[in-house]
């Protein structure tokens, strides 16, 4: 761990401490780092000597009787319970909107997939039907064969397009989900 990392973690852990107090603490540890470095120790060695900044921060918080997490007041809990009809429906709406976004994203895949399946089915059925249509008349049979082969041909680009779009959407979905997770995780830490 470098000096910057150590100080950053300490700063984050002590965020409920008054600003002046926090700066004093950080200055103290920065100075310890600088003095050890003058003696020839590396930042990593000093950090190892000092131990975990999280443990140090907790000790300081214990000493000042400020817990790392602000406790929820009774009023806050009552408001949360009473407000459930309001925020509950808002959360539900948000969830449904999110779901809609995902469904909308996947619609192109469904359409392209349907295209390729439909073309393939039409082509196969068309080719199988050719001998029967031939009996009606050679001209109609040839047209039928041509259309069937065209269908099979169209099936190929739509399948390729479907696969490509799927690949990109998987990436996009993963990206969006990660973004969401990050937001939720941040709120959890708060």
């Amino acid at each position: 761990m470098t000096k910057k990392e150590f100080v950053d973690i300490l700063n984050k852990q002590l965020k409920y401490l008054p600003l002046k107090e926090r700066q004093k603490t950080l200055t103290y540890y920065e100075e310890i780092f600088e003095d050890y470095e003058e003696e020839g120790l590396s930042e990593e060695e000093v950090a190892l000597k000092l131990g975990s900044p999280i443990v140090i921060a907790n000790e300081i918080l214990d000493e000042t009787h400020i817990s790392g997490r602000k406790p929820m007041s009774v009023l806050m809990i009552i408001l949360l319970v009473l407000g459930f009809p309001l925020w509950g429906s808002l959360v539900a709406t948000a969830a449904i909107l999110l779901l809609t976004v995902y469904i909308l994203i996947w619609i192109p895949v469904v359409i392209l997939g349907s295209f390729s399946i439909a073309f393939l089915a039409a082509g196969v059925v068309g080719i199988i039907g050719v001998p029967f249509v031939m009996m009606e008349g050679l001209g109609i049979g040839v047209v039928q064969l041509g259309m069937a082969i065209l269908c099979v041909g169209l099936c190929i680009p739509s399948t390729i397009a479907c696969i490509n779009v799927t690949k990109h959407l998987v990436k996009a979905t993963r990206f969006i989900t990660q973004k969401w997770m990050k937001i939720f995780k941040k709120q959890e830490v708060l």
Partner: protein, 105 residues
């Protein structure tokens, strides 16, 4: 050593070092470590407490192009040392009492 006892002793040790001359965090640890084990994270709250009870004051002085915080003992700090020494007789009496009780077992 018992944590509470050690905390009390360390406070007096810090004051004792400062009585000789003004000092800074790193030097204090080096000086006190010769007598009793002390870490950087134990020293900090002690300094904070001593400053809070007016036993010491701080000032900054430049050192190698940076500011270093120095600690200076106050009158109240010197008094604390005297009180501690004065208290020692009664502490020793309690110690003898505890030791005697243990030996009578």
């Amino acid at each position: 050593m018992d944590i509470q006892l050690k905390k009390g002793l360390l406070e007096i040790c810090v004051l004792a070092v400062l009585k000789k001359e003004d000092s800074y965090g790193y030097q204090l640890i080096k000086d006190i470590s010769k007598q009793i084990e002390i870490s950087e994270s134990t020293l900090y709250p002690i300094l904070k407490r001593l400053e809070g009870s007016q036993c010491l004051m701080t000032y900054s002085r430049e050192h190698n192009g940076r500011l270093r915080k120095y600690y200076k003992i106050n009158e109240a700090g010197v008094l604390r040392i005297h009180e501690f020494i004065k208290d020692w007789d009664s502490i020793m009496k309690v110690f003898d009492f505890i030791k005697g009780a243990d030996e009578n077992d």
